[in-house]
């Protein structure tokens, strides 16, 4: 059910990236979106209260679905991506060694000389960490789903992040797509020849794929260098950057929702 409804997401190697290029906030100033995501994450982390986190998830969902026009199902699918880590993590926090005589102990199972179970405080902590974590994931997705990587690197350039770092980011980002296509083609060819019919063969096939991809990447690098040199490359990649404009309406909106969140954080302190 989920697979068919989200076939668009499942087909694209990076569905989050796909939405970044086709949403209603695509042309908004990247710094506005970074400000919104950054402030929301900051308030949620510092408040570390489940209520503030729930409010933030609500605000972010409205921003992503109503303002940016990203389908709710898709947004929800992405929010659930890190759920494996978060749930395993908070389960580990909830289940702890307990003293069965303590009235705050909710559950105690004897294992050898110890008691393992759940305490009121450990359960509260698990709920708190899970809710804060999901609210931060949602906030980060609000940025990731609306801002293409090129806009982020442009913005980092304006903030004087070392040029070398930015250039490596740009090169890597471009060639990730090339290599993924290559890897997919190799995988299909291997799979068609029963390369993944059992575990041992699968391991051998993945190994062949990785080795071949490494050689391709190095060949590709020298080919690109030759092509760039022929066009006058002397160590710096010059690119035109877009000139986004600030929107007063967006800034007022961000200020408004962030103050609501901040007030909620202060109220639950």
């Amino acid at each position: 059910m989920a697979a068919s409804a989200l076939s668009k997401e499942a087909m694209h190697p990076f569905p989050i990236d796909m939405y970044a290029y086709q949403n209603r906030l695509r042309d908004a100033h990247p710094a506005e979106k970074m400000l919104f995501a950054g402030l929301t994450i900051l308030i949620c982390l510092i408040a570390s209260s489940p209520l503030v986190a729930l409010l933030a998830i609500g605000i972010v969902t409205v921003a992503v679905v109503r303002v940016a026009g990203i389908p709710l199902r898709a947004f929800w699918y992405f929010v659930r991506l890190p759920a494996g880590f978060i749930l395993i993590g908070v389960l580990t926090l909830a289940i702890t060694s307990v003293d069965p005589a303590n009235p705050a102990t909710l559950l105690a199972l004897p294992i050898g000389p110890w008691h393992v179970g759940v305490m009121e405080s450990s359960l509260a902590r698990a709920v708190q960490v899970a809710s804060v974590s999901f609210s931060c994931v949602a906030s980060m997705l609000a940025l990731a789903l609306t801002t293409p990587m090129v806009d982020i690197t442009d913005q980092l350039r304006k903030w004087r992040v070392p040029q070398l770092f930015i250039e490596l980011m740009v090169l890597m980002y471009r060639f990730i797509f090339v290599f993924i296509e290559t890897a997919q083609a190799m995988y299909i060819a291997q799979n068609a020849r029963l390369g993944y019919s059992n575990w041992r063969r699968s391991l051998q096939s993945v190994g062949m794929l990785a080795a071949n991809l490494y050689l391709r990447s190095q060949t590709r690098a020298s080919a690109l260098f030759t092509a760039l040199t022929a066009r006058g490359y002397s160590g710096e990649l010059r690119v035109l950057t877009a000139q986004p404009t600030w929107s007063r309406r967006n800034l007022v909106l961000i200020a408004g929702v962030e103050s609501v969140l901040l007030l909620a954080a202060i109220a639950t302190w």
Partner: protein
Amino acid sequence: MIASIAHSMPKQRVAMIVIAGLLLAFGTVRSAHAMHISEGFLPPTWAVLWFIAVIPFFLWGLRAIAKQVNRSPQSKITLGMSGAYSFVLSGLKLPSVTGSCSHPTGIALGAILFGPTTMVVLGTIVLLFQAIVLAHGGLTTLGANVFSMAVIGPFVAYGVFKACRGFGLAWAVFLAAALADWATYIVTAGQLALAWPAATGGILESFIKFLGIFSITQIPLAVAEGILTVIVFNLLLQHSREVLVEQGIISDESPEPATGPTAATS
């Protein structure tokens, strides 16, 4: 006995329901990147501290790369490609014994092929992309993830690789990959334990809990990744020995690895 607990008090019943719900949800999610600390999981103090911890390594790596780029402008392009390769490598599906798929980290392969200082910078960008494009890991937890996966992992891999060359190339590669994975997960467990110590047992109890949880997936995964890295390395030796020699990864006269942990799989 569990039934008697569930009937005794409403408070306990609530706890049972919450835990059962979490377990149920846990059963339906796939744990793809178990070692990435996800966004928002670390309190602000720890998030900032791990950023501060990785800054010296990052600057060291960036300076090393800048020197290399000044010597030859081609190396910038090669590094970009290598970084893109590292990203794709970490996204390949690794067949696991249990049937579900997991992902190799590629930390050791990257560290051996590109050097550990370079991997700090490339690994940072890989983790940044994974956070933004794949929602694996996070921006506030980037410092912690860079520390475990782009600093500790590559340096352990490289150190083990150099130290174990005497056992033969295959064993050196296998141990580098497996131990780098374990070092990474031990550091991640430590980071989580420091941030969230247990109420009674403190940091140690929390560390043991996280270590135990990770060990279920990470011990077999590290062995699988070790074998995979040896397969990749052997193929590179067979088909493009000159590339490895050229980049100074192996010396020209080192013997072919005929035996080692992959003897069973080939």
